[in-house]
């Protein structure tokens, strides 16, 4: 399963800015909610998180030590 941005529906005000900035079609407005579509095209640019005015979208990072692996 691919890690994708996470949308909090309770904070989302359906402004649609995230859909506008998304370059890969991973965010789609369906009815009255933003749906995240799992796609390998998503490069995790985090632009959706940047533009969201309510903080409804989060793109969390996992920080790992890869040295010596």
């Amino acid at each position: 399963m691919l890690e994708m941005p996470v949308v909090n529906g309770e904070l989302c005000n359906l402004c649609g800015l995230c859909v506008e900035v998304c370059r890969c079609g991973a965010l789609v407005l369906v009815g009255d909610s933003i749906v995240v579509v799992e796609t390998a095209e998503c490069g995790y640019c985090t632009e959706c998180e940047v533009v969201c005015p309510t903080g409804a979208i989060r793109c969390p990072y996992e920080i790992i030590i890869e040295e010596y692996q």
Binding site: E3, N8, E10, L11, C42, G43, Y44, T46, E49, V50, G55, R58, C59, P60, Y61, E62, I63, I64, I65, E66, E67
Partner: protein, 230 residues
């Protein structure tokens, strides 16, 4: 689910206490749940309750008049917060919000005073916990005052990195952080964190791989952060 003695044992305030004492403490502790994004405490309100994280992750932060957020600490199972208002009677010094679904135990100021009178051995545990918090905040002041922002980001990555062994040892996993979280923790703007991560990647200390920040040269990162012998 009621307050459980097993969980009380894992809280540093109550470490090394006997089962009789823990049972007495259990009578004074209440349980509270919070959903992700739920505000647990608001800065400057007179709550006077100390909370302990049982499961989940909590963010303690202050907000400026302009709406800028500074994260003071991320709290994980066993950690306490709002200790200060219980011991000095003042308002909450910080706000606290659930970063995941959170189970909390709480003790009011009055009940904490009762506990200390009846079980004075707890006082040394509390002093150790508060001393640890002072040490943490001294380090935060040092970072904000003396470290360049990229160095602060480097130090943050070192503190929050996992090599996958925490879960194997039964420890709770590190919370995942957004760039906005990192910005609030190191006292800068989100876009500056983005530039710092890019700079660290160009220097060969880290590799950005979609949702993953991999530390590929820890020595280089430590040197950048000013931590360790570098």
């Amino acid at each position: 689910m009621a307050v459980e003695v097993e969980h009380l044992k894992s809280i540093p305030y109550f470490s090394s206490l006997g089962s009789g004492e823990l049972e007495a403490i259990r009578q004074l502790v209440f349980e509270r749940w919070a959903d992700r994004g739920e505000l647990i405490l608001l800065e400057d309100e007179p709550t006077q309750t100390v909370y302990f994280v049982v499961t989940g992750v909590v963010k303690a932060f202050k907000t400026s008049a302009e709406g800028k957020e500074q994260i003071l600490c991320i709290l994980r199972p066993g950690d306490s917060f709002n200790d200060v208002s219980v011991f000095d009677g003042g308002p909450n010094p910080v706000s606290a919000i659930a970063m995941s679904r959170v189970r909390l135990y709480g003790i009011s100021k009055t009940d904490m005073e009762t506990l200390l009178r009846e079980h004075p051995g707890i006082a040394l545990n509390i002093i150790k916990v508060l001393a640890g918090k002072v040490r943490h905040f001294v380090s935060l002041v040092e970072d904000l005052s003396f470290r360049h922002v990229t160095g602060r980001v480097a130090k943050l990555l070192l503190e929050y990195a996992t090599n996958g062994s925490e879960e194997g040892k039964g420890k709770s996993p590190r919370p995942r952080l957004t760039q906005q979280d990192m910005a609030a923790m190191v006292g800068t703007a989100r876009e500056v964190v983005g530039r710092s991560l890019k700079a660290l990647e160009e220097e060969g200390a880290i590799r950005m791989d979609r949702h993953r920040i991999a530390i590929v040269n820890r020595e280089a990162l430590e040197e950048r952060s000013g931590v360790g012998g570098g």
